[in-house]
Amino acid sequence: MADRLERLTNLVAVLLETGRPLTLEEIVERVPGYPAERESYRRQFERDKATLREIGVPISLEALHAFDQETGYRIHRADYELPPLDLSDDERVALHLAVTAVRLEGQVGDPGAGAGRDALLKLGGTLGAAAPTLAALPDVPALPALFDAYRRRARVSFTYRGGPRRLDPYGIVFRNGHWYVVGFDGDREAIRAFRADRIESGIEPGRAGAFERPDGFDPASALRDEPWRFGDEEPVEALVLVSADQAGWVEADLGQKAVAERRDDGSAVLRMAVTNREAFRSWVLGLLDHAEVLAPPELRADMVAWLSAVAGSGAGA
C-alpha cells in the first residue's frame, strides 16, 4: 500500500486539477492507495479530508450538476493558492525576528514555533537568526475567526456575558495584556469593544463585505482606556488635585491637555471628563493620599460619603 503522505499529495493534485467536482468513487479510482471495500475507503477518505482541512486545504463539496442531488469534491485554485507577495529576503529576516521575539502564549516548544512560523514558511522561509523572546502575547481561540471576519468585513455573532451579540468588527487591538475586538454593535447601535478571551461561544460569521468601516476610524482610540469615560452617564468635568510625588506620571498618563493648573509645590490639578462615576472614584482612590477631588461639589460629596461609609464600617471592630 502506498505511503499515506504520497496518497495525500496525489489527492491534493487530483482535486486541484479536476475541472469539475469528483465523486468519492471517482476520487478512489484516480488516487492510488485507498482500500477496495466501500466502507473502508469511505472512512479512509474522511480521515484524509480531515487532515487536509487541518492544514488549511480548502476542499469544497458541490453538486455535480445543477439540480443534482449527487455531490462531489474539488479544490478551487483561487481559494488554494497564496497570491504572490514579493517579499525581499531582508523582509523575511525581519518577519523571522518578529515571530521569534514575540511569542503567542500557549505555544510550547521551540520559540517561534506555531502559526506565525508556518505562515512565514509559506512566504519563502525563515531566514536569518532567531531573536530571544522579547514579548509574550496571549493566544485566544476566538482570534483567528474574529480576524477573518474583520478582514472579510463580515458581521459576527457570539455570546458575551450570557447574551447574544452581533458586531461589525472594525478592528482588533491588544492593550493592557488583553485582545479586544472593536466594532459596531448591531443591537446597541454604537461602537463597542469586547474582550476576545471573554467570548463564551464560537464566532459565527455572516457574509463577506457586509459593512464598510467608517473612514478614518481608529480602533486604538475607539478602545478608550480611561475607565471613567466608559459609561453612559451625563458627562461631568471633574478637577482632581494630585500631589507632587505622583503628578509627573499622572500627567504622562492623561496627557498634557488634561493639566488645568500646576502649583508651586509641584502638585497639579487635572481635568477629567467623567461619564462613569464609579470608575472615576476607583481611579482617584487608587492614588490613596496623593489625590483629592476638588470639583464639582457633587463628586466631592460622593467621595466624602463613600469614605465616611468605609471609615464607619470598621469603627465597631
Partner: protein, 329 residues
C-alpha cells in the same frame, strides 16, 4: 525522536515544492536552512516526490525530481506552483507578532519589518484596523540600552504595593513585555537579590558609570544568545500577573466576602480560593503582601466587600478612609 505526522510533512511538502518550482537549482543546504529542517529530512521528503502526480501516473504525469551535485530541480509540478494560502490563524499570528515588534520603542517605522507588514496586511486585506500596544514604557529605551551594554543604573522606583518611592542601583539583565506590561529583570543592590521591576513604575533612570558581569543565573533563566540584553520570559509560556507575584511566607492571608458586582476581583488578582455562596456572594481567600495594596482594594470596594479575616484588616481599611477624609476637611 518522534516522526512528524503526515499533516506536518504534507504542509511542508506543499510549501517546499512551489519554492523549488520557482527556484530550480537551489541547493539542499540552502533549502533546509530556509525551511528550518535538517538536510536528511528534506531528502526524505524529496524521495517521495517522484511518486506523486496525476492519473494515469505515467512518467510524463509524475513529478520529475532530480538532485544534481546537491542542487534540486523539479519538472511537471506546475499545479503545485504556488504555496497554500495562509489560514486565518497563520495570517493573524504573523501580523500580530510583526506589529508587536514594531510597537517596541526604537523600532524603525520605515524599515524592512514595516515594509513586510504593509505587504502582508495588503495581501490579507487587513487594512489598518489592527493595533498592538505592549504597555507604557517611558524609560524602556534607557533600560534596554543598559541591559544590552551591561551597565549598572540607578533608578527611582515607585513600589505600588507600599505606596513608596525609592532609589536603587540595579544590574538590568533583561527587558521583556508580558501580561500587558514591560518588565525589567535585574539584580537589585538595595534588596541584595533578584527583582522584577515594572517599567511603568520606574520614575527615573541615571547612569552610574559602572558595569556588571552578565551572569547566566537569575529569574529570567538563560540569557539570550549573544547576551543581547533580552532573554526568555521568566516562567515560560503563560506568564501572568500570578506568576510574577510571588507571595512570601510572612504575607497575610485575607478572606473577603464579595458582592456579585465585585466579581472583577478574583478575575484580576491571583486567589488561593474562590467559593460562590448560595446567596450569590463570593468568598475569596488571597495573600496580600503590602498594606497599601490592600488599602487601595478595600477603599475601592467599599460596601461591596466585607472583611471576614483577619479582623485587623477591617480596622486598617477604616483608618485609611479616615486618613483620606482629612484632605476633604
Amino acid at each position: 525522536v518522534t516522526r512528524p505526522d503526515a499533516a506536518v510533512r504534507l504542509r511542508r511538502l506543499l510549501t517546499i515544492i512551489p519554492w523549488i518550482v520557482d527556484h530550480g537549482g537551489s541547493s539542499l543546504d540552502e533549502l533546509a536552512a530556509r525551511f528550518g529542517i535538517k538536510v536528511a529530512e528534506l531528502e526524505r521528503d524529496l524521495e517521495l516526490v517522484p511518486f506523486c502526480g496525476l492519473p494515469p501516473y505515467t512518467p510524463d504525469r509524475l513529478i520529475d525530481c532530480e538532485i544534481v551535485d546537491g542542487r534540486v530541480f523539479l519538472r511537471f509540478a506546475e499545479y503545485f506552483g504556488r504555496p497554500l494560502s495562509l489560514t486565518p490563524g497563520e495570517g493573524f499570528a504573523l501580523l500580530a507578532a510583526g506589529q508587536a515588534l514594531l510597537a517596541v520603542p526604537g523600532a524603525d517605522p520605515s524599515g524592512s519589518l514595516a515594509a513586510a507588514l504593509g505587504k502582508l496586511a495588503g495581501l490579507l486585506g487587513a487594512g489598518d484596523g489592527m493595533a498592538v500596544e505592549l504597555g507604557p514604557a517611558r524609560y524602556l529605551e534607557p533600560l534596554r540600552a543598559a541591559a544590552e551594554a551591561g551597565e549598572r543604573v540607578e533608578i527611582d522606583y515607585y513600589t505600588f504595593g507600599r505606596d513608596e518611592l525609592t532609589t536603587r542601583r540595579i544590574d538590568p539583565r533583561a527587558v521583556f513585555a508580558a501580561a500587558g506590561q514591560w518588565y525589567v529583570d535585574a539584580y537589585c543592590h538595595r534588596a541584595g537579590d533578584d527583582r522584577l521591576f515594572r517599567v511603568d513604575r520606574v520614575r527615573g533612570v541615571r547612569p552610574t558609570g559602572e558595569h556588571f558581569e552578565a551572569s547566566s543565573g537569575g529569574a529570567a533563566g538563560a540569557a539570550g544568545p549573544g547576551g543581547s540584553g533580552v532573554s526568555a520570559v521568566p516562567g515560560g509560556p503563560g506568564v501572568s500577573p500570578g506568576v510574577i507575584f510571588n507571595p512570601r511566607p510572612s504575607d497575610r492571608r485575607v478572606t473577603l466576602l464579595l458582592n456579585a458586582n465585585a466579581a472583577w476581583v478574583p478575575e484580576s488578582y491571583p486567589m488561593e480560593s474562590v467559593e460562590e455562596l448560595p446567596d450569590g456572594r463570593l468568598k475569596v481567600v488571597f495573600v496580600a503582601s503590602e498594606r497599601a495594596w490592600l488599602e487601595r482594594l478595600l477603599l475601592r470596594l467599599g460596601p461591596a466587600a466585607e472583611v471576614l479575616d483577619p479582623a485587623e484588616v477591617r480596622v486598617e481599611a477604616a483608618e485609611a478612609a479616615r486618613r483620606l477624609l482629612v484632605r476633604y476637611g
